[in-house]
Amino acid sequence: MATVAKEIRWPGRSASRPTRRGDAGVWPVVGGLVAIAIVFGSLNGHFLSAENLTNLALQLAATGMLSLGIILVLLLGEIDLSAGSVSGLCAAVLAIVHVRQGHSALLAVAIALALGAAIGLVHGLMFTQLRMPSFVVTLAGLIGWQGLLLYVLGRGGTINLPFDGSIARLSDTWLPPWASWLLVVLIVGVAGTSAVLNRRLRRGAGLPLPPLSRPVLRIAGLAGLLCAAVLVLNTDRGVPLLLVIFGALVVSVDLVLRHTVFGQWLYAIGGNAEAARRAGIPVTRLRIIAFVLASTLAAFGGLLAASRLAAVNQSSGGSDTLMMAIAAAVIGGVSLFGGRGRAYAALLGILVIQSITNGMLLLNVDSSIRLMVTAIVLAVAVAIDSMSRRGSRQ
């Protein structure tokens, strides 16, 4: 280099940031959860009991799955309003294939998930090829798939799933204590090993290392949290399989989003679609895939809801399911404008919403109050988020 390397000091903005990422992170949500636990725990002794926490874990899986799918679409800066209706319709098709036509549960599940994927493909094609706004596409889906649900259910209106069938048993399966402890050991072991490996690779590559306390605290926190959950759940019926399935999907989606080219491109499109297109990223294909995944996860959520209810009826996936799924994603920190948020938002957000619902039901509070409290929590979550980001943008 011929020029003399001159010290360039950029007008520093980074010195006095509140947090590294420029947002408040998960701490407001975690604080909110602690506050909810304290308030409802003191108002009703049953709220923090093992039995009720187990019920809570069962209640959150289905809507949480919808939320997880919606997050994939929100990251692109689009929206999916159809998740509730799609979950209901796919659950109805599942019940029809399995109960009315007597096919095996496995085939019924495969058909229901395939139907979800096909619906997502239709949404994605309408959005990318006909250039309809995603809001309108999925609003039509919200109305239309609900209509199709009523149509396929026919005059009966309700299809019961056999209580001892494999679909209903899905939500009545519990991990034996040894299995749940083995799972905890495996998860903490994998997390710890990958942290050590990552640190070693970074050192080998000569990259700056974060302070050792950060990964140690994170792993210790993870281990503590998992142990506490397993201890509590084991005093009741054990760790529900439903919770394990939901947790596994959240972790998988998070890993895909953060560590694969696909995930990086989703964030890139959500941040600046035009820049992504110019950089050679196949924007159209990724948008279609996101809608397909969202509807498939919605179908899976519908399956879990049907399993828990052991029935599919006209209100499956209806009423406030969709709104709660979207609210959960937003409370968890996913931006409606795209490009910001993580898969864990589905877990954290639905935990907040379901805790409020559950606690209010225990207190025998009317659902009018429940809806208003949920609305306030949603508003406060978004307000905290935008305030903390404005602070960091200076």
């Binding site: 020029t3 007008p11 903005r13 080219v261 941040g271 600046n272 820049a275």
Partner: protein, 242 residues
């Protein structure tokens, strides 16, 4: 190294480019100046493959080449930094540097390898960014411009085109970006800078090419030419060739 000869482009009745010539050499900064509507942007789009010319030919190392789309331009080693920078504000510096050309094994990102390459690239350009893991939305305008320019170098190009690189910057940040442009030249790259700002043009370019109404309107060794002569060529006050 690179030459466009007799390039013409019509948009309906408008003749945006009329038999324009341009040649660029390695290790040289060429400024492309002209009034609004002079054809600067169209010429750059032809070179970067966003627009195909109606007539004329493009030679690369003396060999005629076809540039029909941005991808072809990039594979020839022509890299363009657009005026709007085209950064993903939510991604960090590493993510933006490798946007669309992420290094990966199967589908898994090779984050450590990319971060190491990013740090090496930024330090070779003497670009200082305290924390390259923050979203670029949190960087200053000059830093973002530097990230956009550094990204243009990721594919190891031989020609870098910069569209109004200092337009939105303050005095200090403009000086930093001009320093960066000199460093590109010292790396042996051919650099084409489009600018409205004649002070910047004088500060950084070796040669100035003037377009007026879609035609060549002058070509000067920047250091040997007065600003008045360049302004005269831009406005058409002086006939050329004299």
């Amino acid at each position: 190294m690179f030459a466009a000869r007799g390039v013409s482009k019509r948009f309906g009745a408008v003749r945006a480019l009329d038999a324009v010539d341009l040649h660029l050499d390695a290790g040289e900064v060429v400024a492309l100046v002209g009034d609004n509507g002079a054809g600067k942007s169209t010429l750059v789009k032809v070179i970067s493959g966003a627009v195909t010319a109606d007539e004329g030919r493009i030679e690369y190392d003396g060999v005629p080449v076809q540039i029909n789309n941005p991808h072809q331009a990039r594979s020839l080693g022509i890299s363009t930094v657009y005026q709007d920078l085209a950064l993903s504000e939510n991604l960090d510096v590493v993510g933006n540097l490798f946007l669309g050309s992420e290094r990966h094994r199967w589908a898994v990102l090779r984050k450590i390898e990319m971060e190491r390459a990013a740090r090496a690239l930024l330090s070779s350009l003497d670009v200082r960014i305290q924390d390259i893991q923050v979203p670029v939305a949190m960087l200053s305008g000059g830093q973002r411009q530097s990230v956009a320019i550094a990204r243009a170098l990721v594919g190891e190009p031989r020609l870098v085109i910069l569209d109004e690189p200092t337009a939105a910057l303050g005095v200090e940040q403009t000086a930093q970006v001009l320093d960066l442009i000199r460093r590109l030249r010292d790396r042996g790259l051919a650099v084409l800078v489009i600018s409205h700002n004649l002070a910047d043009v004088r500060a950084v370019s070796d040669r100035t090419v003037v377009l007026r109404l879609g035609r060549n309107a002058g070509e000067f060794r920047t250091a040997e030419t007065s600003p008045e002569a360049i302004v005269a060529a831009i406005t058409g006050a002086a006939a050329w060739p004299q």
